[in-house]
């Protein structure tokens, strides 16, 4: 089934564009909310602006955009102010004070709206939760083209947010990471905080009115969180979050149109699917992000565990070789000492045989010269560390083995030489075993 069956540029193109604009405009300030650990503020503000809308409506009696914007922005700032005020005065933690403020404001908004219920005369431009689909009712003619009003509004908000982030990039960055420093060198962190709140409130109300707030709340949090997992640089993070936002908007609309058909239903809510797709992208990033991904970390840990085990095998062979030169050791014996699985040891020993560290024969495994050299390095590291721990670390002899066992895998030639000189080039380790000498190149 083709992905773009039922696709028309005139219809779906505008929907995707509106979704992309909404997603990008929300994700830009969302980055700074995430860094300030205030991700839930987007959610709080999008609930809390309700009384602002209601009061704006009750005062002006119309549902034109400007009073609504002003009302929402004012209440958005009030939300931030009240939250901080209650947190400081009442010594309550941030989450709780936010919870108190936004639920109370929301409740007040509901009561106000019920009082005004009969007078609400609303054009269908903002009908329905997250119904991007109904945006064609209101269009604006620009340069001979009829463009949905939603797209124009969201386009303006996107440009404002983009300019905001570009112009105040340095200030936002500084105040997000170190508010005290920022204030002390003359950029008021408080001012930036409230500017950000204004931007969040304006973005929330613009999207709220047009595409529904499910989408905007999701886009405040999810794309920045995804980008945060992928990079450590703020500029890159903002860029990536915009990309993720766009991708989830496009994917969201495609899947809203197509996925339900697979189960015999008609298309579903685009906003909901956009939020859901953003969630999927986040989940994917959390699994495979190059630095912090869950799978990546598991693989890295497993690789390290394998390397350590394979080195332990060589070191063990070397120690046995020390006691009875040129002996052959069976895999079974190696396993019983190292407490590892048999197939794992067999596989690793085969790998060592291929790289020329051991020779396999009927009676067992034997070190080659190359293998002996590797083993000597490991055992030398181990015993030098033991010597060092006793001499310099003041650790008693019976407790040094486990630490040296860990450290030996991360010790290179240079470190060995330094250990050697610090411990005055010992011949024997604290247990009385001879320390192998460094290989002469």
């Amino acid at each position: 089934m083709s992905l773009i069956e039922n696709w028309s540029w005139h219809y779906d193109g505008w929907i995707v564009l509106a979704g992309v604009l909404c997603a990008v405009s929300a994700s830009l300030p969302g980055n700074f909310l995430l860094l300030r650990r205030m991700s839930l503020l987007g959610d709080a503000i999008s609930h809390a602006i309700l009384p602002g809308l209601a009061v704006a409506f009750l005062l002006t009696g119309s549902r034109s955009s400007l009073p609504m914007f002003v009302g929402a922005a004012v209440v958005g700032i009030l939300t931030a102010l009240f939250t901080e005020w209650i947190r400081n005065l009442g010594e309550v933690d941030e989450g709780a004070s936010m919870g108190v403020v936004f639920t109370t404001l929301f409740a007040i908004g509901l009561v106000l709206i019920v009082q005004a219920a009969d007078h609400v005369d609303l054009d269908p431009g903002c009908v329905l939760y997250g119904a991007i689909e109904s945006m064609f009712v209101h269009t604006v003619v620009i340069a001979g083209q009829s463009i949905p009003r939603v797209v124009v509004v969201l386009g303006c908000v996107t440009i404002i947010n983009l300019l905001f982030v570009l112009v105040f990039f340095k200030e936002l960055k500084l105040s997000a990471f170190d508010p005290a420093l920022s204030t002390s060198i003359g950029f008021s962190a408080r001012l930036m905080h409230y500017l950000l709140m204004v931007i969040v409130a304006v973005t929330a109300v613009a999207s709220f009115e047009t595409v529904g707030n499910i989408l905007v709340v999701a886009m405040f949090v999810v794309p920045p969180a995804t980008a945060y997992l992928l990079t450590d640089r703020l500029g890159m993070m903002i860029f990536l979050s915009a990309i993720v936002a766009m991708a989830s908007a496009v994917l969201g609309h495609l899947s809203a149109v197509n996925v339900p058909h697979l189960f015999g239903y008609q298309s579903t809510s685009t906003s909901g699917m956009m939020a859901f797709c953003a969630g999927l992208l986040f989940f994917g990033a959390s699994l495979v992000s190059p630095r912090a991904g869950v799978i990546v970390r598991i693989v890295r840990r497993q690789k390290l565990a394998l390397r350590i085990l394979s080195e332990d095998l060589i070191a063990l062979l070397f120690r046995m070789d020390e006691r009875s030169p040129d002996c052959a050791v069976s895999v079974q014996k190696l396993c019983s000492v190292l407490l590892c699985r048999r197939w794992l040891a067999t596989w690793l020993m085969n790998r060592h045989a291929r790289t020329g560290h051991v020779i396999q024969s009927e009676s067992g495994h034997r070190l080659t010269n190359a293998g002996r050299r590797l083993g000597a390095e490991l055992v030398r590291s181990h015993r030098l560390w033991e010597q060092y721990l006793v001499l310099e670390g003041g650790v008693t002899v019976d407790r040094i083995h486990h630490q040296a066992e860990k450290l030996e895998h991360f010790t290179d030639r240079e470190l060995r030489d330094r250990l050697d000189s610090v411990t005055a080039a010992p011949e024997l380790d604290p247990h009385g075993s001879r320390i192998p000498s460094e290989h002469k190149d």
Binding site: R37, M38, S39, L40, G42, D43, S46, H47, L89, G90, E91, V92, G95, A96, M98, G99, V100, T103, T104, F106, A107, L110, V111, I113, V114, Q115, A116, A117, D118, H119, V120, L122, C126, V127, Y129, G130, F208, E209, G212, I214, V217, A218, F220, V222, A225, L229, P260, Y265, Q266, T268, S269, S271, G272, A275, F276, A278, G279, S286, A292, V294
Partner: protein, 523 residues
């Protein structure tokens, strides 16, 4: 009144039975699905914006609980507030106040899926147990997702909550939109999501009572463990308590309360009931047991009073009224709260400032006299006002106020030339204060290695909060080194004090919030 309630319920059912898209006259509410979360019961016939003041009969009916419906609604919301208050106080202390927010949104896809999938198993998609099961499973998935994001990625709690909230809610909306196309009737679903406070029936009340009882029992049984979890989870872990399991129990309680409450009162109200009573109770006590009880009380009272008000005043929706009553109680607690309320803290600080001024004045008198060449400190010797004023950076208003207080208490007397002198009791009091100050200075010099030039300030910060037992211990400690008969001689030249007072005004000003909060903390 019965008529009124009937009207409300019929209107509500009429409203609830239409699908979202055809709620024509209430377009403000269809801005967004979220508006419904607060469970609005609308009386569409009301054309005026003013609130009708109800007749005395209505008051009497509601307050005497004569209506079966009102009784049920008040009982249900009261119990719900009670249970949410109990569970909320633990989530608040665990700094997860907004967990309920995320979890209540996370139940949505489960509700939709349960509705869609139930027919496949031959069940009724609208039956309450099916929907509750779906909601519970989905809530548990939400908990798992929060734990995944928080523990396995480098994102913090707030981001985890935000992601789970919005993504699950988005998925839920997508599923519900599909559900609306299929079977046609999703009325049951809608009341489930938006709540139906005004039409809570006996079954709902019973369900709420059961959930409240269950959470009460669990909290009572695991009280010690949950306390430990909230205050010091690492310690709990080190003592062998299963921290993750306890965390799950706590979150399961939140899910339980949320689901039960969700279908009775709606999402936003549920968040409010979980957060506000607990946050309010925090102002009254430092004791967790008492805090839990107070929080339960506030939640219960909010539920009762809110739904009663909504029953008395015809066009106030009950859900939001409960929230508003709760937050009214919150603000009341924030100002009046017995242990952390703003007024109590302001009064405490004011008292401390007064004590500090008092001690500074008497010490200033004593030290001024000591600095004079003449035969030492004695009662009745004159100290001019101007030199007292210059000893510290206090305003003459504050100094005069304190002098008036001391005059009243008979510690000072005013002479004819407007200068002041100590009375006998004033002398005793001031020698005690100077003695304490110098003991502390000596302690700092000998035991804390503070340079003699700097001890005055440090001693200033703490001397006002020294307990008598501490003085005795200080004396014992210092007796080993020197004899402490009478007032200890100052360990540093006294002229320095006057100089210090001018150069370091910023740090030694008594009323300076930093200093006083510091001393307050020390107390």
């Amino acid at each position: 009144m019965i008529g009124l309630l009937l009207m409300l319920t019929t209107l509500f059912t009429a409203f609830g039975s239409g699908s979202l898209a055809d709620a024509p006259d209430f377009r403000f509410s269809i801005f967004d699905l979220r508006l419904f979360e607060g469970s609005v019961t609308i009386a569409e016939s009301l054309t005026d914006r003013s609130i009708d003041w109800p007749e005395w009969n209505q008051w009497k009916r509601v307050l005497s609980l004569r209506d079966y419906n009102t009784r049920i609604v008040m009982l249900g919301t009261g119990l719900l507030g009670l249970a949410a208050g109990i569970v909320g106080s633990f989530t608040l202390l665990r700094r997860r106040a907004l967990m309920g927010d995320a979890l209540s949104h996370a139940t949505l896809p489960g509700v939709g899926l349960a509705f869609l999938l139930a027919p496949m198993f031959g069940l009724d998609g609208k039956s309450l147990p099916v929907l509750l099961t779906g909601a519970a499973l989905s809530g548990i998935a939400g908990v798992a997702a929060i734990l995944y994001v928080r523990n396995l990625t480098r994102l913090k709690e707030d981001a985890a909550l935000g992601i789970v909230l919005s993504v699950f809610f988005g998925a839920g909306i997508a599923i519900l939109t599909i559900a609306q196309q299929g079977a046609g009737h999703v009325a049951g679903l809608e009341t489930f999501i938006y709540g139906k406070t005004a039409s809570i029936v006996a079954d709902d009340a019973r369900l709420i009572a059961g959930a409240a009882l269950a959470s009460l029992i669990i909290v009572a049984l695991l009280f010690k463990e949950l306390t430990l979890l909230c205050f010091d989870d690492t310690f709990a872990g080190s003592r062998g308590y299963p921290v993750v399991l306890l965390d799950l129990v706590l979150m399961a309680l939140v899910v339980l309360i949320t689901i039960i409450g969700l279908q009775a009162v709606g999402m936003v109200l549920m968040i409010a009931l979980l957060v506000i009573p607990a946050a309010a109770a925090r102002f009254w006590t430092h004791d967790l047991k008492r805090m839990t009880l107070i929080s339960a009380g506030i939640g219960g009272a909010g539920g009762l009073v809110g739904s009663a008000m909504s029953a008395v005043f015809p066009n106030l929706p009950s859900g939001p009224m409960i929230v508003i009553v709760c937050s009214g109680l919150f603000f009341l607690s924030m100002f009046l709260g017995g242990s952390r309320g703003i007024l109590v803290r302001v009064a405490r600080r004011w008292q401390l400032n007064r004590a500090v001024d008092h001690q500074h004045l008497l010490r200033g008198m004593y030290e001024f006299l000591e600095m004079q060449e003449a035969p030492g400190v004695a009662a009745g010797r004159n100290v001019p006002f101007a030199s007292l004023l210059s000893m510290r950076s206090w305003s003459s208003f504050r100094l005069r106020r304190e002098i008036r207080r001391c005059l009243r208490n008979g510690l000072l007397v005013r002479n004819n030339d407007q200068s002041l002198s100590l009375t006998e009791s004033g002398l005793a009091e001031s020698s005690r204060l100077v003695h304490e100050h110098r003991l502390w200075e000596l302690y700092l010099i000998t035991h804390a290695d503070v340079a003699p030039g700097r001890v005055d300030q440090a001693a200033d910060a703490i001397e006002h909060v020294l307990e008598p037992e501490l003085i005795v211990r200080l004396e014992e400690l210092l007796r080993q080194e020197r004899a402490t008969q009478g007032v200890v001689p100052s360990p540093h030249p006294l002229e320095q004090i006057a100089a210090d007072a001018h150069t370091n005004t910023a740090t030694t000003v008594v009323g300076d919030p930093q200093t006083s909060s510091q001393t307050e903390r020390l107390r």
